[in-house]
Amino acid sequence: MSSQWNDAPGGFHPASAPDFLPRRELARLQLGRLRSVVERAHARVELFRRRMEERGVTPADVRSLEDLGRLPFTVKTDLRDTYPFGLFASPMEQIVRLHASSGTTGKPIVVAYTEADLRVWTSVMVRTFAACGLHRGDVIQNAYGYGLFTGGLGAHYGAEALGATVIPISGGNTERQLMVLQDFGATAICCTPSYMIHLVERAREAGISFERLKVGVFGAEPWTEEMRRHIEAAAGIRAHDVYGLSEIIGPGVGIECERRDGLHLFEDHFYPEIIDPETGEVLPDGAEGELVLTTLSKEAMPMIRYRTRDITSIVPEPCACGRTLRRIRRIGRRSDDMLIIRGVNVFPSQVEAALLAVEGTLPHYQIVLARVQGLDEMEVQVEVTPEVFSDVIGALEALRRRLEAAIDHVVGIRVKVTLVAPRTLARSEGKAKRVLDRRNM
């Protein structure tokens, strides 16, 4: 390695070396890791073994990276059906961390990490921050939520390992965020892009400018080029898109380098395929389809061909930054009905489960998403049925509050429930349109 591998401005962080591996070397590394992870999952995860047997394939059949296409897919409902620990490939005494994110109905999905998994996660987050031009001496305000959500701790340990100064402020409390941002002199911030827009607007109202802030690492929800331009102009920073999902590891699956032209995937740990979401057929680089990821080095919870439901394409051309890691296009939509609201995954089925629990039958409802002062707001409009209608205002208000509490409990974010008259919500061919997204994305 030349002298460019040093942790100083202008140099590359030593941990970023795998970003620049020659493709042939990378492929050899990937194949070796793929074979051992398939072996591990086959030996230790019953669901995966059964699916392989059904397809008549064995771990020995994986002789090339292309052979991955012969293996069965894993989907989000597999995590729900095996809740909480059914897909673990390590005994609990080797698991040092659990995280969880929302599932498709009431129960969350649980993910696990061994010590080695955490080391991998930290290393890809170091490479993430390094690709954003951050290094020792930077002050990173980490406004991702700390807790079961992977965003907070994932970014935290990566930033620390980078050698940067971490401000573990977690999410929310805008006044305090702005005070700390100004007084502690953060040079970088991590949060959801919609929260950054909120921060920028509140800062403008308060007459605060972010003089030292230069970089934003934004993710956990889809955003647009328009949002990027708005954030960059208003805050005077460079905004990077970071990609990740709990099922794979958390944040740190992919990151935009300084070119900000697609997200480099950390392919040495997460192997990407693009498939036709209808047929499951693997598509060539450049074609748009659903992103499927295989964890090449995960111990506690290997994911083989996990269907992310995110629609994107792999950029066939190499990046001018010199990284050999392939890039995916910014994710603009999903192939299922999952909504991402303030970084939280929300499924209409969760809302249905809550409405059903309160009312006993499922009323007609509609989810309306709006962006107010840069923040996502979720309103659930519920048609009043004769069964729940009362002539007493207090009883209807109580019903409304019960519905809000039930949805909040299942989904994990505050929602506003509005009672509406029957037959007011749009229906097409008898079926109601369940989601009205007015966030202009």
Binding site: V384, P386, D391, I393, V420, P422, T424
Partner: protein, 145 residues
């Protein structure tokens, strides 16, 4: 002696109040009296009509959510302290009031007729009669309008 009251759910937007009233008008149903309760989000229109069953089917056919409850009509002496005296009788009988509104039909100069939605109408009716409160039945109320 109890009177059937229809309640209708209304959203807070223009045209919502007119819609059920027009449906009843088109069906030739006369509204005896009514009251509107509102919140920031929605309103509840409470109606007393002569043919409550027909009114209910007309409204339901028009796609309106209708709820039927029983209210008591009470003649209150039209003089200072008249209402307070009646409410005192309620209080002594331990009858809780959910809400109340005046009837549009009244015997001018003698009584005001008020409609009370009470917590337990059956029990309230017995207690109030025993306490000497003058309850007005549907026939009498409708005859005045």
């Amino acid at each position: 002696m109890k009177i059937r009251q229809l309640s209708v759910f209304l959203e807070n937007r223009p045209g919502q109040l007119r819609f059920p009233c027009k449906a009843l008008g088109d069906a030739g149903i006369d509204i005896v009296t009514m009251s509107l309760a509102d919140t920031a989000q929605f309103g509840i229109l409470r109606l007393v009509v002569k043919e409550w069953e027909r009114a209910k089917s007309v409204l339901e056919a028009a796609g309106v959510v209708v709820n039927v409850t029983e209210v008591l009509a009470v003649d209150v002496p039209d003089r200072p302290g008249g209402l307070a005296a009646v409410l005192e009788a309620f209080e002594q009988a331990g009858v809780g009031v959910e809400y109340m509104y005046p009837s549009a039909s009244r015997e001018r100069g003698r009584h005001a007729t008020l409609l009370f939605r009470l917590e337990d109408p059956d029990r309230a009716e017995k207690l109030l009669e025993a306490a000497g409160v003058k309850l007005v039945g549907p026939a009498e109320l409708f005859a005045r309008s």
